[in-house]
């Protein structure tokens, strides 16, 4: 294994320091924690906190800023941060209007988030949690993972929260976005955890893993590696089953960490050719990675007027800025 790092056990902390150092007008690190917060909060706004294991950069710290998240909590690589870290983030961003936690559906994240909510409640801070579970690779809806679609949910919810809406209203919009977004991924090469130093699963040169999550966990099915065209067809088939037929779409092609932009756009082209639908927004790039995994995920969001409006709204974060 070759990685540009120092002590593998300190890699998350070193990453956070680097991110803040490079973007110190936008974000700050909450002292003594692994929480990244906005330099200045929009007054009298519901706080928006997300977080989870590290290794998915730019998620989530790259999306902290006006129009998106107020704080992001970074766990160890692929490991949920502890409840105390989520609680520190909640305390830091609460302005009396309450805080919404946007949590990807993994047991650890949900449990730590719930414990943090209990701690917040004891301090008189109102919180709500919305669980994101866009991964159609998993049939059982209770077990569905949160993957790249999470970023679009954060974008829309963050923009809506900027309007000064109430906690229950912000929660409603987040839940609507979650109910209309679906994703699925494929891996061509596994990733390597800095502290483990060996690939997360074995995948031979002529195979691909379909229906992977974002933690180097194994996928649902192993197949012979296919062309971009065939891969697009395969993922679209599963996702479209759950997307309303008439709705205009937002499309996100997400690189998993070491897939070239050339490949991502080849794949985007195949997806758009096959979709034959009204695609109002297309995003291509590394939005939610899995360390150095090679592969892509495909996300479709069925838009309505409200979701479109807040997807288009201004945002200013390290990774995503639009005016």
């Amino acid at each position: 294994m070759k990685k540009l790092m120092n002590d593998p056990e300190q890699i998350v902390s070193a990453f956070l320091d680097g991110l803040v150092a490079a973007n110190d007008t936008l974000i700050d690190r909450l002292e003594g924690t692994d929480v990244i917060v906005r330099r200045s909060l929009t007054p009298q706004k519901v706080g928006l906190v997300s977080g989870g294991g590290s290794g998915h950069e730019p998620a989530h710290a790259g999306y902290v800023g006006k129009g998106m998240l107020d704080a992001a909590v970074a766990g160890e690589v692929f490991t949920s941060p502890g409840a105390d870290q989520f609680f520190a983030a909640i305390q830091a961003v609460d302005q009396g209007e309450g805080v919404l936690l946007l949590i990807k559906n993994y047991n650890g994240d949900v449990m730590n988030g719930e414990m943090a909510q209990e701690m917040a409640e004891a301090e008189g801070i109102k919180t709500e949690m919305v669980i994101i579970n866009d991964d159609v690779a998993v049939n059982d809806s209770e077990q569905r993972r949160g993957i790249a679609g999470t970023v679009l949910v954060q974008k829309i919810t963050g923009a809506f929260a900027e309007t000064g809406a109430s906690l229950s209203d912000v929660k409603r919009v987040a839940e609507k976005a979650v109910s209309r977004i679906r994703s699925m991924s494929v891996a061509l090469k596994p990733c390597t955890l800095p502290a483990v130093a060996q690939p997360s699963f074995d995948l031979s040169e002529d195979e691909m893993e379909v229906g992977i999550g974002i933690h180097g966990e194994r996928g649902m099915e192993r197949r012979d590696v296919a062309t971009s065209e065939k891969t697009a067809q395969l993922l679209l088939k599963s996702i479209l089953k759950e997307i309303p037929e008439e709705a205009p779409l937002a499309l996100l092609i997400n690189g998993m960490g070491s897939t070239s932009l050339m490949e991502q756009h080849v794949f985007a082209n195949d997806v758009m050719k096959q979709l034959n639908r009204d695609i109002q927004h297309t995003f291509v790039g590394d939005y939610m990675t899995s360390l150095d995994m090679a592969g892509v995920s495909l996300t479709l969001l069925a838009l309505d007027e409200e979701l479109s409006k807040y997807l288009e709204a201004p945002v200013h974060t390290v990774q995503w800025t639009q005016y």
Binding site: E76, V77, G82, A83, D84, R145, G216
Partner: protein, 204 residues
């Protein structure tokens, strides 16, 4: 068990987790993401590093501190599960200086209840609860038989191999999860093995 023995229990557990770190991570590669050993070792190391500062605490406070340290430092799903278990021991032992038979029985019952609530799981789901639950079940008013506890933990751990995992990332594998030990059950076995060793030495 008194405060000093509880501290010794934590040291013994940390030693076992260091020794078996790679084994735990390897087990976790099949059902999860392969870092259970790393996370548990980090969590218990944090506990051990604090033990000197905690030596004058009541047993109840000590358990609360251990629980919080595990939530903060293990992270993932194991952090809140182990953390909740120790915090519940702390709650159950509020007025206890020395844990005896009845205290073990009530404390472990609370710990098992806490793990089940936190993880929304039950015994038979192929998780660490399949070690904690049978251990709690064999306790009665008498001073615990540590050999029996270690055996119950071991049997519980071994039984997870034949279970279809119903909670956590392993649940995504469905039937494919059969034939694999649950990493959390294995780390729990080491925890109870360390407890048995500590208490045996205490009596010897």
């Amino acid at each position: 068990m008194n405060n000093e023995q509880a501290a010794q229990w934590m040291r013994q557990t940390a030693e076992k987790l260091v020794e078996h770190k790679d084994e735990l991570s390897k087990l976790d590669q099949f059902v999860g993401d392969g870092d259970h050993g790393v996370n548990m070792e980090r969590g218990f190391r944090a506990v051990v590093e604090n033990l000197d500062d905690w030596k004058d605490l009541s047993l109840s406070q000590l358990m609360q501190k251990i629980g919080s340290a595990l939530v903060s430092n293990v992270g993932g799903a194991a952090g809140p599960l182990y953390g909740t278990a120790f915090m519940r021991l702390g709650t159950a032992w509020t007025d206890v200086d020395q844990v005896d038979g009845p205290a073990w029985m009530s404390g472990m019952a609370k710990a098992v209840e806490g793990i089940a609530q936190r993880g929304k799981a039950q015994a038979g789901d192929g998780t660490l609860l399949d070690v904690w639950s049978p251990v709690a079940a064999i306790l009665d008013e008498n001073e615990p038989d540590w050999k029996k506890i270690e055996d119950a933990a071991q049997t519980g751990m071994e039984e997870t191999e034949s279970m279809v995992v119903k909670k956590g990332r392993g649940a995504l594998l469905g039937e494919k999860s059969v034939g694999h030990l649950d990493p959390g059950a294995v780390s729990s076995f080491y925890l109870f093995q360390a407890l048995a060793k500590t208490m045996d030495e205490g009596e010897g």
